[in-house]
Symmetry: C2
Subunit: 346 residues, 2 copies
């Protein structure tokens, strides 16, 4: 692209670093991940790699968007101070949807309780930097593709098992968005057409079984018949409620009932994963979220059941792996989305 | 693209048609669709459009690949004779899989009973023309994108309800193949994880419910309790067996039991379609196959149930339509695949 004439013309100003292009390139992109519970903001090297700084605090969405945005701006200012000089190119924000990505507006998020919030413009005004906004599940999947467990894969699907099940599809390095910008809703794949009612109104969505609340609900339902389970005791010593976290903890401490719940969770999740394998034959499926703390109690039966259900050639071509950046995939991916949107390429 | 200089240089030889380029371009591409029951071969205009000639006969795969290939060559010779002069660029063949597309070898097709057949080379030797071979379900979906009900759609999914349920995904005008070349297996999406056993070994695949044999099996299972159904009588007057065709016929003649079977079929199919809508947010889903003869008895409840289950924005962006070229989509698509493979573009 650059001919000798341009190099010569630019020679006089390229005194820092290894040459004009690297000196002129920004050093950082800010990534922000606004979750229902946790708020993360950090600086990601422009060329990718380990975040320079990561700040975390509670989101406290009930204080309203202006409060959250002001704290995001503070977190980023403090982060920029810590890394010292180096230009920040802009800010990528990941946020629960649905949202109007092009307008940068959060339409309605049950997880935050916000409605019609012009998030992009609010963050841009508070920081003076250019901003992109994207769906958090898409950001997490893109983060796994850009810097995580599926780095550079031709076809990647990201799943985050949390309050819901977030999904994102990255094909050829691009987030696959579909005709409506709403693609990637793996959590609302029904694997049991007459099964559990889902918050979305459908039945049998994998989210109704394998999200945190889905796991907890199934665990509670069976608990009365599981007389010798330590789950109730562990729950009482923790939050006082049976949660997916308590189920994982009990399983890791040897509780057979809780291990059974995790095995069942893995098998039901595997039906959705096998459907993805048969349908899209991805190179990698990255699974993130709190439940992955269960390790082999989750991934063991998950892999077994996928092998039992999906086509061998597609199974052989697909790795099913835990996230390598479980805490920061969304933040890193949000920064990556900013970079791709504004600069093109990864 | 064509400057005046090139026009001038070509002027002396461009005596036929409208100019040199159109005279030099081949007029036809042959398409062949080898089904378990029916064999179709025809000539498709190079630029797309209505097939010039279509020949049909029984496949009779039990006579072996050499016999079928010899008849394909005869059909194409006779077709070329009928359209008169005009170059045939080559032949696209669609065939049930799994197959090694790059080697042009049919690996193992339960529907044909063939194993390790070098189909591409056999057809090329018998005809003296270049040949491509591709999966029949992919060809059908591509045919719908190239010339059918989803012409030019950015994201199309094709479903063919037959002995099995074939699926194909076309994104940006390209067949989506995935990491293993096995993507698009919509028929083996499980929508009932503990449900009906499928021939693939999994449970609850939509194919086990909404394929021809799946519909017939469900109809027979409920028949003893449906005392006043005319289905048994209609079946006896037809093939003597309860088939999906008999169910459609009985439904169209007013049989309430058979209409109920079709409604249930549509609702279960809708679960898979809603999953596709949520996951891929396609612009169009084209449904083909014998059962679509049931018309609104199928498409009515199908659309209703998809709207009930999938996200409104993704539903709004997606048309769910019957095939416009139900008999020839596979053959036309096979020709289209040849064109794209050899010439690039559609």
């Amino acid at each position: 692209m650059r001919g000798p004439g341009r190099d010569a013309a630019g020679g006089g100003t390229g005194s820092r670093g290894t040459g004009r292009e690297s000196a002129a390139a920004p050093r950082w992109i800010a990534g922000v991940d606004i979750g229902g519970t946790n708020l993360r903001a950090g600086l990601i090297p422009f060329e990718g790699g380990v975040p320079g700084v990561v700040r975390r605090e509670r989101t406290r969405p009930e204080r309203g968007p202006a409060d959250v945005v002001a704290r995001v701006a503070d977190m980023l200012r403090s982060a920029a101070g810590e890394v010292g000089r180096g230009e920040v190119a802009g800010i990528g924000v990941g946020c629960p949807g649905p949202l109007d990505r092009k307008a940068g507006v959060v339409l309605e998020t049950p997880n935050l309780g916000w409605r019609n919030v012009p998030l992009r413009d609010l963050v841009a005004e508070a920081t003076g930097l250019p901003v992109t906004v994207d769906n958090d599940a898409n950001c997490a999947a893109y983060g796994e593709w850009w810097q995580g467990a599926g780095k550079g894969a031709d076809r990647l699907i990201g799943l985050t098992l949390g309050t819901g099940i977030g999904g994102g599809i990255v094909i050829g390095g691009e987030i696959y968005r579909g005709a409506s910008d709403a693609a990637g809703e793996v959590g609302h794949m029904s694997v049991d057409f007459a099964g559990r009612l889902c918050a979305c109104g459908s039945r049998g969505c994998v989210e109704a079984y394998a999200s945190g609340p889905g796991i907890a609900a199934r665990a509670v339902e069976g608990l009365t018949e599981a007389g010798d389970s330590r789950l109730a005791e562990i729950a009482l010593n923790g939050s006082g409620r049976v949660t997916a976290r308590a189920v994982c903890e009990a399983a890791l401490r040897g509780d057979a009932y809780s291990r059974g719940i995790l095995t069942e969770t893995a098998r039901i999740l595997a039906v959705a994963v096998a459907n993805l394998v048969n349908l899209l034959s991805p190179d990698v499926i990255v699974v993130a979220g709190g439940v992955t703390a269960a390790g082999e109690y989750l991934f063991g039966p998950l892999g077994e059941e996928v092998r039992r259900r999906a086509f061998p050639s597609a199974v052989a071509a697909c790795r099913i792996v835990p996230s390598e950046i479980p805490d920061t995939a969304g933040m890193i991916g949000a920064a990556g989305v900013f970079k791709r949107t504004v600069y093109g390429g990864a």
